[in-house]
């Protein structure tokens, strides 16, 4: 037997006992060549191209799932930022693209389609402004479309006009989807340093530096890492880091295998494996619980940032040995609503928005799936976004904000988004206003870190 029974059972147990899965196979598709002054023609061409390239995506992924016995939870598509395609059109009705994407996603049977996006870190074109304007209606009247807007980079600084605009957009999107507790906001991300090859939603888009089409993989596995940490309750930090590296190596190898095989079957190049440790609302599949298994009474208390730094770094070290192409976000995710341990930590009073902000300095991706009271002022949301963008800009990393001001809800209430999006306790926002600051207008200059040439 080329493998020991222990090895074989370890693999099977990862799936059966510890929620190991491939979170997503995401196909990136370039649709820039579908641009046309006639908006209907552009939408039709894009729809045909996506359907042609992704025709066999679902079947192929299902076959891989059965062949290797590893669940693949989501099948997704990311397209070129729609603002780049739409601005050639003479019409202002960009919603046609949103409806087209939603229809394509439903027809292909995939879970999400990302790329209703704009990159405005330095300034905004007319087309980008129109796209952002259309986001609230686009997200509240479609099911599978995800939007993202990049408002900052280390090289360009922070576009504060766009930050304020995005805060208004988030409020509008929440209002328009108030019958579903502001669900539209769960499909909208504001980014600093957005990666072009991210397979994870809501922020996936197919960057302009990418090939015609590409397969990107997002792995999961907090449950597997937690089980490994629990096996070593008393060891020192080096031993702990070593064990996390081993586990990260193994789970990333599966991502690499699935990526290569899907790519082979579809004859589309394999892009990257994203090393992010993505939690799910299932009990035991929680990043917060890993930190607690390391020895914290509760995630969010003193020591949390250090524990997360160890975890994130060890996952990257192990994972980077396992794949020939790492990319995307590649860092532990700390979405509140999608992680049962984070939810408990908030309810126990251990975890606040401010502590989450500190944690985003040492991991991916940012303030993710945070529900706040519906009456949170636009300026406060802009302030929260600006803080997070500053962390990304200064530290040369991707950061993001996915915040849901839930209409009619107060601190302590719960909201239910369903599925992978989970449920969230409404978190408190500090009542002190940044209104004068965020309404100054203009652009925060690029930091000294940008001057690397």
């Amino acid at each position: 037997m080329p493998y020991t029974p222990q090895e074989i059972l370890e693999t099977i147990q990862m799936v059966e006992n510890y929620h190991f899965d491939i979170r997503t196979v995401t196909m990136g598709i370039n649709i820039l060549d579908c641009a046309s002054p006639d908006i209907d023609l552009a939408a039709k061409k894009a729809s045909e191209k996506i359907k042609r390239l992704a025709d066999r995506l679902l079947d192929t992924v299902t076959l891989m799932e059965k062949t290797y016995g590893v669940p693949i939870i989501n099948k997704r598509i990311a397209v070129t930022p729609i603002s780049l395609l739409a601005q050639s059109a003479e019409s202002d009705d960009y919603l046609k693209f949103a409806y087209m994407l939603d229809e394509v996603a439903s027809t292909l049977g995939i879970d999400f389609i990302g790329g209703y996006s704009a990159l405005v870190q330095k300034g905004m074109t007319r087309g980008e402004a129109k796209l952002i304007e259309s986001i609230p209606v686009a997200l509240s009247s479609t099911n599978k479309v995800c939007a993202s807007v990049n408002v900052a980079t280390t090289k360009a600084g922070i576009n504060m006009d766009a930050v304020l605009k995005m805060a208004e957009t988030i409020k509008k999107a929440a209002e328009l989807s108030k019958d579903r507790d502001g669900l539209a906001c769960a499909k909208l991300v504001v980014f600093a340093n957005a990666p072009e090859d991210n397979p994870f939603m809501a922020g996936a888009f197919h960057g302009v530096g990418e090939a015609e089409a590409v397969i990107n993989i997002g792995i999961s596995g907090p449950g597997v890492v937690k089980a490994a940490v629990e096996r070593l309750p008393d060891c020192d930090f080096r031993t702990l880091a070593e064990e996390i590296k081993r586990v990260a190596f193994k789970i990333t190898r599966v991502g690499e295998l699935i990526g290569r095989k899907v790519s082979e079957q579809l004859n589309i190049p394999f892009g990257i494996v994203d090393l992010s440790l993505a939690p799910t609302p299932a009990i035991g599949d929680s990043v917060a619980n890993i930190l607690e298994a390391m020895g914290l009474e509760r995630c969010g208390g003193p020591g949390t940032t250090a524990a997360l730094a160890i975890l994130n770094d060890a996952v990257k070290k192990g994972g980077s040995m396992a794949s020939s192409a790492i990319g995307g976000l590649s860092g532990a995710f700390i979405p509140v609503s999608e992680d049962a341990g984070m939810i408990e930590a908030v309810q126990a009073g251990a975890l606040s928005i401010e502590k989450l902000e500190a944690m985003t300095c040492v991991c991916s991706v940012g303030l993710d799936m945070i529900a706040v009271p519906g009456d949170t002022p636009v300026e406060s949301i802009a302030g929260i976004i600006a803080d997070e963008m500053a962390i990304g800009m200064i530290n040369n990393k991707t950061t993001a904000v996915r915040i849901i001001p839930v209409p009619g809800k107060k601190v302590g209430d719960m909201v239910e988004f369903g599925g992978l999006l989970g449920s969230a306790p409404i978190m408190a926002v500090r009542p002190f206003s940044p209104a004068k600051f965020v309404r100054r207008g203009g652009h925060i200059p690029a930091p000294l870190q940008a001057l690397t040439n």
């Binding site: 037997m1 493998y3 090895e7 059972l9 370890e10 016995g69 193994k250």
Partner: protein, 93 residues
């Protein structure tokens, strides 16, 4: 000669008379060739692991998976069928 295609079949559950017979009969019926077989008790679970070449089999991996799932149900054991590659990727550098 066709390229070898190896799958790993893992049978887990309560040990009882006839497991090996039932599984190997199902495999023989579809011309799947057992290359290696081992039995062990791990963490109180009975586990039988078979390495099987299905390159000349009359059913593909997905079909065999369904057939063996049925066999497993009748025996009261859990049967997992996976392509060998997942173990090679995960456990061999």
């Amino acid at each position: 000669m066709k390229e070898k295609e190896h799958v790993v079949i893992t049978v887990m559950g309560q040990d009882r008379v006839g497991i090996v017979a039932a599984v190997s009969q199902a495999l023989a019926q579809y011309n799947a060739n057992i290359i290696d077989i081992s039995q062990t008790i791990l963490q109180d679970i009975f586990a039988m692991i078979l390495l099987v070449d299905i390159s000349s089999a009359t059913k593909n991996l997905v079909e065999l998976k369904e057939i063996l799932a049925e066999t497993g149900k009748q025996l009261g054991v859990n049967i997992v069928v996976q392509h060998e590659d997942i173990f090679r990727y995960m456990h061999r550098i």
